[in-house]
Symmetry: C2
């Protein structure tokens, strides 16, 4: 059992706090991807739910605990998906939700946050600047700050995906996990290493946002000055020390992929799996594309973690042109 | 309890025969569709599985029974999805599967049938001609013929979707079901009318393939000379009398929609739900688009029944142009 901050019994208990609409998501072999990728690929699909990402597994936990404690308001920084999920979970429990997000976040994400009745504050900067601003809002207003990946509920909520993976038949050889702040990777990684340690846990990050991967490789926090990737959901510069400590205990590898591979992965998931995914959700396929020999003949699960994307950008990335004629 | 050929206890028992990968599929509110459609829409997603349609619920049942009886071979006619599902279910149970399909069926469907090791026979004609040919193959080879919608397992397999709908919270006001041969409509319709009779069961068929709808309205079998629709999965000309009898007992309405509405529905499911669907799976959204007043303010479930589509045709239908430049 890896000695991270996470706890298997709490993760099992977490399932009871999460709306079932976010649990037991599809996990299925996608044969049509095999010829193109040279390995057997299974998809864990986290997009077929009301917020189209895995993030609600964590926010359900948070909002349930806060509502139980009588809290009335909460604030988080978000690249878009956490904010949408917190808005959804908060709305059902009477919480006032404030989301601080980069102005450059996909309109699809920002629009959905607004539509879910959250207060949305935009910052002229990136996710790490939004984190600073959210912390300031929390201090000034005296309300609870939710810190993605830092707050254990965000990791243990994501970890419930791991429970659904390790119970699966047939078993698999490796799981590919998008790596940003680390909630998904430490969550799923903890459960996999605790209950199916023979499965390889491989984290995937864009070359243009490599802070956590560099940190994992050097076993110390490495920050970067900027990010340059279309994968907005994982574009972070400043790894959190406690999250890195956990990641060092559960990840077998962390790899970096090129933007062109992310786009090729999105196109493959569209053409061969019929899935519209955001760039972060294509990181796993991108990793296979960049290192086919490593995965040849193996059974690999890739977590399709989000599908919130601006369609004009999406069509541009996957190489189909929207027809705006009436 | 409607007096159809179907039986609730058998349908409940059927769940134990079906591989869990096809059961308990996502059912979720898709708020992003509401503004465009003027009602609350929930999606029942039948595409996130190894065959990308609901048809395996029935073929799992059939293949399980046949394998238990020691049968070695089976043949079906199919527009593509039943054949793919039967190939999948048969492969796992050592059945030799022959599929007779129209040569004009989507290449995506035919390729997948071949990839699943089924014998594929193509006919120069439509689905109803394939039905004749499959019957001849069965007589000539002395093997079991599977007749979609006629064979009760195809209906009761599809009916397991109904069990998953009637147990849902929140409840809903109407369910929109693609209508072709009638297995899905009679299956889901039977369960809904048995267990949640207040829910409106609305079948939707293309104007270009209206045989079953005309039959339902006239309460007698009406055949048509040809079909003209992109919705290949429901393009049938000759309703089966026993299936019509069942449909008359469970459907509250059957409506016809235009091709342009089907394409608009596919585009909406792409843009607002991130779902790549085949035309048959967009019939429900098309029905809302053509009669907004009927659905205004109501909570409607639409069954997204299949996602097997040729991507070039798909992009043409939804109005985005594939970019073939390298």
């Amino acid at each position: 059992m890896p000695e991270t901050r996470l706890d298997i019994d709490r993760i099992r208990a977490a399932r009871r706090m999460i709306d079932p609409v976010f649990l037991d998501t599809p996990l299925y072999r996608c044969d049509a991807l095999d010829p193109a990728l040279g390995c057997a690929v299974s998809i864990k699909l986290e997009t077929a739910n009301p917020v189209r990402s895995f993030k609600a597994r964590g926010t359900e936990l948070i909002a349930g605990l806060l509502a139980g404690d009588g809290a009335g308001a909460v604030v988080c920084a978000s690249a878009g998906n956490l904010g949408q999920a917190l808005a959804w979970s908060g709305r059902g429990r009477g919480l006032d939700v404030t989301v601080v997000a980069p102005r450059s976040a996909p309109a699809a994400k920002l629009d959905r946050i607004r539509a879910l009745d959250a207060r949305l504050e935009l910052v002229d900067g990136d996710f790490d600047l939004a984190r600073e601003r959210a912390a300031a809002v929390a201090r000034y207003e005296g309300i609870r700050l939710i810190e993605d990946s830092q707050d254990i509920e965000t990791c243990e909520g994501a970890a419930t995906i791991g429970l659904e993976l390790v119970g699966a038949v047939p078993t698999f050889d490796a799981v590919l996990i998008a790596l940003g702040g680390g909630a998904l990777a430490t969550g799923v990684g903890h459960v996999v290493k605790a209950l199916a340690p023979e499965v390889e846990v491989i984290c995937v990050q864009p070359l243009g946002a490599p802070a956590m991967t560099h940190s994992w490789r050097q076993r110390r926090v490495v920050t970067t000055g900027s990010t340059d990737t279309i994968a907005d959901g994982v574009a972070a510069r400043r790894p959190i020390p406690a999250v890195l400590d956990d990641l060092l205990l559960v990840a077998d590898d962390a790899v970096l992929v090129q933007e062109s591979s992310i786009m090729a992965g999105m196109r493959m998931l569209l053409d061969h799996a019929g899935l519209v995914v955001e760039p972060s959700a294509a990181l796993g396929v991108a990793a296979i594309l960049e290192d086919r020999d490593r995965f040849a003949g193996r059974h690999v699960v890739t977590i399709v973690c989000g599908g919130n994307v601006d369609m004009d950008a999406y069509h541009r990335w996957v190489g189909v042109a929207p027809d705006h004629t009436p």
